[in-house]
Symmetry: C2
Subunit: 220 residues, 2 copies
């Protein structure tokens, strides 16, 4: 009931932080504790302010017990429910190259609701192969597959120059959200949700650490 | 001079936001404007508070001009310099599977300072091949290559169960920072910097959007 009343939209940064809490608790905390975690513990491990942790969790209706903390089970279930991991999302992967293949084969995304219906590629040599249990289909059948399976989500793993025309085709076919791994921005109607995955954000943090600690190999 | 006096450490969230500003300005703003951008523009496009944008930029010594905003050139150069993109970081990729191959072949990481010296794989069929201009070497030569080239950064793209023993070997060989794409946490000495890349954080945002808009394919 509490969560139902919280129908306002969480912004991107809150969603991302919730996901970090989820990973942290699932991977590092849940196995080591008595089933409770404090906002201070989460805050310390993620190097952030514990007030923000409490605020984020309160926003999804998760309240701690004084001196005990948050139930890890309640916390994880609430995040799963809020973020939609208990639903299923049929998706297609466009681009069956190394990255598309890595995503299809990873297998770990299923627990967040991702169902991969098929991959698509323009290269006839890739068509007909199987990646992570899904078939690589010819790019011509993109629209018919999306419509037939009621697919709303597309993962775009094509080179930069191919991204925009394919995104346009996906939108035309009825796609509502694109997970864009192509290293380029997409211009799309405002009702289409695009998440541009900048893997280089991670690299920035590493570069910053290495620089600060004089661990570069400067050859200039 | 201004930036030199700012020697305190930026935390992870600040570094990540700086990288998002950098991408935003590089990809969407720089080409469309007169060379200036306001904190309000950045804040709106990233769906965040403009006070935070100004605070982050002030932390790296970037100050705007009243009614004009921030010079995009100064902003980008300051971020590049602060985050260390103007230095070079020799790195190795451990795991020459699909994801390792995708990272080696991407080519876009060089502009952030990443130099890939070599890849390593335990599979003899992969050894001797070339990915993105770097050779795949046998895993036995990991330690000698790391030492010989003064490599401080390793990109770990191996299955979860192989990650910890390989991370231990990397640390023993002198690696100081690990970019971990393996879907598991690593237990390492506290002086080793680990960035765990949770690609599923992006998926969380998409799942949340799809759920909110009733775009799931629920079969329960």
């Amino acid at each position: 009931m509490t969560r139902r009343t919280k129908s306002h939209t969480l912004n991107q940064l809150v969603v991302e932080r919730l996901m970090h809490y989820y990973h942290l608790v699932a991977e590092q905390i849940e196995t080591q504790t008595s089933g409770y975690v404090s906002s201070a513990q989460i805050a310390e491990l993620l190097d952030m302010d514990d007030t923000l942790v409490r605020k984020d969790l309160a926003a999804i209706g998760v309240r701690g017990r004084p001196r005990v903390g948050f139930s890890t089970q309640v916390l994880m279930n609430s995040i799963r429910e809020t973020l939609g991991f208990n639903e299923r999302y049929r998706s297609v992967i466009v681009g069956a190259g190394r990255l598309g293949g890595a995503i299809a084969s990873y297998g770990g995304f299923g627990k967040y609701g991702l169902d991969i219906v098929a991959l698509f590629d323009a290269d006839p040599l890739r068509v007909g192969t199987d990646l992570g249990g899904a078939s690589v289909l010819p790019i011509d059948s993109l629209e018919s597959t999306v419509r037939e399976h009621g697919v709303h989500l597309a993962v775009l793993t094509v080179p930069a120059e191919a991204a925009q025309p394919l995104a346009d085709r996906l939108v035309e076919a009825g796609i509502r959200a694109i997970w864009n791994f192509a290293p380029t921005s997409l211009v799309l109607p405002s009702n289409i949700f695009v998440r541009h995955e900048h893997i280089s954000v991670g690299l920035a943090e590493l570069a910053y650490y290495l620089k600060r600690n004089d661990l570069s190999n400067d050859r200039s």
